[in-house]
């Protein structure tokens, strides 16, 4: 057993080293993005009639208002959609993920999953307010790796748009929308470590992980000066694309989960006692809410209620439905019975794999992704996990780690600029090489680099943080406490009483 663990860790270390090497090489020449000199905007009422009309049409269709020289403002339709989207992504965590995970553990640990989701929400929101948003979406450090300090404590953030990210939505709503991503990402990790990680250790881990893994990664992928922001950073050294978080959300959490669950060790009784889900009903409610909420996550990532959002809406639905069908179909073929957990797992896998691709692929791409999402994570969860014998309790790695990685790579293959003009924009994609990569069908190289960097950061970051937390707080409850369940030992409550 010890040997197995060691060899897995060794393998990972090798992957990580290579990835880091790649990342460093790719970014040696990273430079500050030159600020475009903005002309003085005119007031709407002073603009010529044609400009006014063009401006209004742009406002309705998420067009670029720059030619009109009128400053964009928060506009009803897009603002409505982004508020809805932010609420939907919050719904994914509270109570979506809480129920999805909560149903899968034994009833004595159900509250520990709910507390995890609630606790992370509070903690991450506070960090986000203080520094997090700024470290991801600020730019005054002019760094491809991390944002800036200009928005610390959300200074200056109001309902005016931040046009580095979107023309027609208020920055404060953008900030909360992004917060909901920063909340669910670390929460995903703790499916792998379910039923055996102390709550205090969990919270400490999250506090560190945001700084070491999430903020840098999110900036690299989505920040205006980010290293791998192929769509919106003309200076991106790695012109990779990730529509809604294949790397930032799923790979980062999935790979961190793998490492953390290996370092943590298996649950007491693992492999001896049966540990079936205590309520697949909760898990199914969670799945439904995750699916519905994911429309905010994916279509909301267009940052407007526009054509790209509409495309993401369609592709998300198709990929998810197909995967939700394929996974239980495999069960039916291989084991004889299609299960509810299989359907739920397939749905989530579909959502995960389409995430980075949803705004970049067409209908056919979505169906292909759905099939792959129903097959690859299925085997990751039912075969690979048992082969390597790590206790990824609720299959965070199998679904989010593997699915996210597959999605990031598939996005490079199935990308289709006809659904999203930004993929070949003159302002960005033509400059940083994204357009060229797409036209030469070689985008997968950039995608692989981005995936490698993500894995490297998640693996190395998690190892370091885990060791720190272990030293300072310790990771596991006593065996006695683990038998009794974390609900009573960590929270002094029971999930259910009669």
């Amino acid at each position: 057993m010890k040997n197995k663990t060691t060899s897995v860790l060794r393998l990972l270390a090798a992957v990580a080293s290579l990835a880091i090497l790649g990342a460093v090489t790719s970014t040696l020449h990273a430079q500050d993005a030159p600020a475009a000199p903005a002309p003085t905007p005119v007031a709407f009422t002073n603009a010529p009639a044609a400009a006014q009309s063009a401006y209004l049409l742009a406002a309705l269709t998420n067009g670029d208002p720059t030619p009109t020289n009128i400053a964009p403002v928060a506009v009803a339709g897009h603002t409505a959609w982004m508020m809805v989207s932010a609420a939907l992504v919050l719904l994914m965590t509270l109570p979506g993920l809480a129920l999805f995970y909560g149903g899968l553990v034994r009833s004595k640990n159900v509250l520990s999953m709910l507390a995890m989701c609630l606790g992370i929400t509070g903690l991450v929101a506070i960090i986000w307010w203080a520094v997090g948003y700024s470290l991801v979406f600020g730019t005054n450090f002019a760094s491809p790796f991390i944002g800036g300090s200009e928005f610390f404590f959300l200074k200056g953030i109001d309902s005016a748009p931040n046009t580095s990210y979107a023309y027609w939505i208020p920055q404060n709503v953008f900030c909360i929308f992004q917060l909901t991503f920063a909340i669910i990402t670390p929460a995903l990790i703790f499916g792998a470590t379910a039923e055996r990680l102390k709550f205090t250790a969990l919270m400490a881990f999250v506090g560190l992980w945001m700084f070491v893994v999430y903020f840098p990664l999110a900036h690299m992928v989505w920040g205006a000066t980010g290293l791998m922001n192929g769509v919106w950073n003309a200076d991106a050294k790695i012109p990779a694309i990730d529509f809604a978080g294949g790397t930032v959300v799923h790979m980062s959490s999935g790979w961190s989960a793998l490492i953390l669950c290996i370092l943590l060790g298996k649950r007491v009784g693992h492999g001896k006692e049966p540990m079936p889900p205590h309520s697949l009903v909760l898990t199914m409610i969670g799945t439904g809410l995750l699916w519905v909420g994911w429309y905010g996550f994916n279509a909301g990532s267009a940052l407007a209620a526009d054509s790209v959002a509409a495309n993401a809406f369609l592709t998300t639905t198709l990929a998810t439905a197909v995967a939700a069908f394929v996974w239980p179909l495999l069960e039916f073929i291989l084991k004889g019975k299609p299960s509810v957990l299989g359907m739920c797992s397939g749905a989530v896998a579909g959502l995960v794999v389409i995430t980075p691709a949803c705004g970049f692929v067409n209908t056919t791409g979505a169906v292909i992704i759905g099939v792959v999402a129903g097959v690859v994570p299925y085997f990751a969860v039912t075969v690979v996990k048992h082969l390597f014998k790590y206790d990824d309790a609720l299959d965070t790695f199998g679904i989010h780690g593997v699915g996210g990685t597959v999605g990031a790579l598939l996005t490079g293959v199935l990308v289709n600029p006809s659904v999203n003009g930004n993929l070949v924009s003159d302002a960005y994609a033509a400059k940083n090489g994204l357009k060229a990569a797409i036209e030469s069908h070689s985008l997968i190289v950039a995608q692989a680099k981005a995936a490698g960097i993500t894995i490297a950061l998640a693996v190395v970051g998690t190892i370091i943080i885990t060791l720190i937390v272990k030293l300072l707080i310790g990771l596991r409850p006593t065996d006695e406490a683990e038998h009794q369940g974390l609900d009573i030992t960590d929270h002094g409550e029971e999930g259910y009483t009669h």
């Binding site: 540990m275 889900p277 299960s339 957990l341 299989g342 797992s345 969860v381 039912t382 996990k385």
Partner: protein, 112 residues
């Protein structure tokens, strides 16, 4: 007095209860239990983890009766709970030394 403990299939409960009521038995206590026996269980698979579930849902009926009522009660249970298929369950008879009705402090046969 004797105590009858019968383990039966859950869907037989109503029938058994009715049969006992007809015999004039006015009280019983019922518990949801899990039974392990010759009746084989089933396999459940959760994402590749297979569990053999040997413990099947059963109902335990407990009835304390005066000695004279024992035989009839046991016979009624056996008759109505029988399906002829494996897993029908058992009836056990245990001696009881005393009984008290809490409401009235009555003891012995009058209490049941």
């Amino acid at each position: 007095m004797k105590k009858i403990e019968a383990i039966i299939k859950p869907f037989k409960l109503e029938e058994v209860k009715d049969a006992l009521s007809e015999l004039g038995i006015e009280g019983m206590t019922v518990t949801e239990v899990k039974g392990f026996g010759r009746q084989k269980g089933h396999t459940e698979i959760y994402r590749g983890s297979e569990y053999t579930v040997d413990f099947l849902p059963k109902i335990k009926i407990e009835i304390v009766v005066a000695d004279g009522a024992l035989e009839g009660a046991v016979a009624a249970i056996v008759k109505t709970a029988k399906t002829g298929k494996i897993g029908d369950g058992k009836v056990f008879v245990l001696p009881v030394e005393n009984a008290v009705r809490i409401r009235t402090d009555e003891t012995g046969d009058k209490a049941v």
